[in-house]
């Protein structure tokens, strides 16, 4: 008996396409993915599309225009599960840096004819607009996480995606803590694991690509950064990255603006 394969759609909002690319980057696993699911809508891979409804919608990017704020509702309606992928979709992305400034001012400086630009004041995560079944972190996401999440949803189980700190992965790797041994500011203790602690493995502090971990104590870490010699402006820069608009980081950086 031929079993009907679950249909997957991949949608793009304001983003760099890097997270979608993780799906194509699966290479060794791609045939298994295609074997398990029907890729029904994925414009980065093929312009052939199959109409909805879809079993799983993977949503990349943040909401930055009035048009997109409408479109995400349509996608939610045709999707059984909606999973956001990447820092843009889960926290507003790097473009959420605009949220701390006046967008109109940017538009008037950047564009010759500002009247053509229709944009929202803030770049917001998908979950601010519609119900999201699962948020997959990362800038970009980890491709093995993506396979794990698809696998888990197809089999009706909880994905094995940790929400604890990068430190846990870093220490399991046997790395030497860059903050303790060199005084390098590192966001690892407040950032969610998932990258395999790449930066500390190469003697750099964590940049926070995977966003805030569960129960992050950003204030205690920022205070420690002060002891390491960082000025308020440095702390704001460290926290305002791909996940600047995620609440713990936003509150953490705003505290140093005063």
């Amino acid at each position: 008996m031929k079993v009907k394969k679950p249909k997957i759609a991949v949608w793009k909002f304001a983003s760099c396409d890097g997270c979608q690319l993780s799906l194509l980057d699966c290479e060794d696993e791609l045939l298994d993915v295609v074997g398990a699911v029907e890729i029904a809508y994925f414009l980065e891979a093929s312009r052939a599309t199959v109409s909805g409804p879809y079993d799983i919608s993977l949503v990349e990017g943040s909401i930055t225009t009035p048009h997109d704020a409408e479109r995400i509702h349509k996608i939610r309606k045709v999707s059984k599960y909606l999973i956001t992928i990447g820092a843009c979709a889960t926290a507003g992305g790097i473009q959420a840096l605009r949220n701390f400034k006046d967008v109109k001012e940017f538009i008037s400086i950047v564009y010759a004819n500002p009247s053509y630009i229709e944009t929202l004041n803030k770049s917001t995560p998908i979950a601010d607009h519609v119900f999201v079944d699962f948020e997959l972190r990362g800038c970009p996401i980890n491709k093995y996480h993506l396979i794990e999440v698809i696998n888990a949803f197809l089999n009706g189980r909880k994905p094995n995606i940790p929400t604890y700190s990068v430190c846990m992965e870093c220490k399991r790797n046997g790395n030497v803590c860059v903050m303790v041994s060199k005084g390098t500011p590192c966001l690892g203790p407040v950032v969610q694991a998932g990258c395999g602690a790449i930066c500390p493995s190469y003697n750099r502090g964590c940049y926070g690509c995977f966003g805030p971990k569960e129960t992050p104590n950003v204030f205690a870490l920022s205070e420690h950064f002060v002891k390491l010699g960082l000025k308020s402006a440095d702390i704001i820069r460290v926290l305002r990255n791909f996940n600047s608009y995620a609440e713990p980081f936003r509150k953490g950086s705003e505290a140093y603006e005063r």
Binding site: D32, G35, N160, S165, V176, L221
Partner: protein, 374 residues
């Protein structure tokens, strides 16, 4: 009681020891410098040891410094502990494959590697003995741990210069090595002298000394070594009276002081990862997309994660305070109820490697001083 023989080893005689074991199929692990810290890794010869280096430690602080001499073991413990070899951070327990419509389980831990641990300190031996009891005692044992542990030849080193965060004299686990070794070395270094006094602690250790033909140490050579070890106890910069720790912490469970001592806690789990006795682990089952291969993977876990106390409906220890309290009370108090000894060996790793320098010793003192008794 029979007096143990003591042998004299010139510094580079250690290479003969390493070769002795390598030729017998052992992998030699010991302290070595990587990324500006002393870690435990495979070593080829004495040249891989941190010769002439020492470490400077403080809460949340670790730096290497040059020594004024060429001591081989002139430092204390770093970010690694021996548990990474005996209880690996990530271990696939088994693999299962679908074959001809059947489900077949494969043991993936069939390797029978033999290890030499070089430079194990007194506190670390205590930690290994504690994990022996956890993984090897009681009704349920861990076959992977037991196999690895049985294949270890342990070369211990007496500490003669405790570090700034060391407090093994308070936990009664050092600085002198008293048991649990195959060979015990004491390094003696003066302006004009550099040698080791070696004492066997097992038949295998004795056999090694005899086979390699090291001469017995002269009395004055042993005396010099003894002097250094005896003086070590007076060099501690930290101490705490642990006699009533079990009661003090359990009596102060509701003390508001817990909020204060855990204020800085990042719940990052670093203290539990570096702790040589922390044994918690989590099991994860993974399957491939095609549903043909499944694996059961074990990873180091931490009581600082939300998942650790997750039961139906949510995590029991949702506040930072409750997780810090759980860890500290377990280490210094309830461990005793559970296993009959404390879970802390005074190595100071949790103090050094806490990113914000939370200090378990100072925190215990606060509770001892606290007048609030509930």
């Amino acid at each position: 009681m029979k007096q143990e023989k003591s042998f004299y080893l010139a510094p580079y005689d250690l290479n003969k020891v390493f070769e002795y074991f390598k030729s017998r199929g052992y992998k030699v692990f010991g302290p070595t410098i990587r990324d500006e810290a002393i870690v435990y890794d495979e070593i080829a010869s004495v040249d891989d040891l941190p010769v002439g280096w020492m470490d400077e430690q403080a809460p949340g602080f670790y730096r290497l410094k040059k020594r004024n001499d060429k001591a081989f073991f002139g430092y204390v413990v770093g970010p690694h502990s021996w548990k990474k070899f005996l209880f690996p951070p990530v271990l696939t327990l088994f693999e299962a494959k679908r074959e001809n419509g059947k489900f077949k389980v494969y043991d993936v831990n069939t390797a029978n590697e033999k290890y030499v641990f070089v430079g194990v300190r007194a506190c670390e031996i205590s930690a290994i003995l504690i994990q022996d009891k956890i993984f090897g005692g009681g009704q349920y044992t861990d076959p992977n741990y037991i196999k690895r542990r049985g294949n270890v030849f342990l070369i211990a080193v007496n500490c003669t210069e405790p570090g700034n965060n060391c407090f093994c004299a308070s936990t009664g686990t050092g600085p002198r090595v008293v048991a649990g070794f195959d060979v015990l070395l004491t390094e003696v270094i003066r302006d004009d002298l550099h040698y080791f006094i070696g004492v066997p602690g097992s038949e295998k250790g004795e056999e090694m000394f005899v086979t390699l033909g090291f001469r017995e140490a002269e009395e004055f050579e042993i005396k010099e070594a003894e002097k250094d070890v005896n003086e070590a106890i007076n060099k501690f910069k930290r101490s705490v009276d642990l006699t009533d720790a079990v009661e003090v912490l359990q009596e102060n469970y509701e003390n508001p002081l817990w909020e204060k001592v855990s204020e800085k806690c990042l719940t990052c789990g670093n203290c539990t990862m570096v702790c040589p006795t922390c044994f918690c682990n989590t099991i994860e089952d993974v399957t491939d997309l095609a549903g043909q291969v499944a694996k059961r993977i074990r990873r180091w876990d931490s009581c600082f994660t939300m998942d650790f106390s997750y039961i139906h409906g949510g995590s029991v220890r949702y506040s930072v305070m409750s997780r810090y309290r759980q860890w500290m009370v377990h280490k210094l108090s309830t461990w005793k109820n559970q296993f009959g000894m404390l879970g802390c060996v005074g190595c100071g790793r949790c103090i050094t490697w806490c990113p914000v320098g939370i200090d378990i010793v100072e925190n215990l003192k606060l509770f001892k001083e606290s007048t609030v008794k509930l």
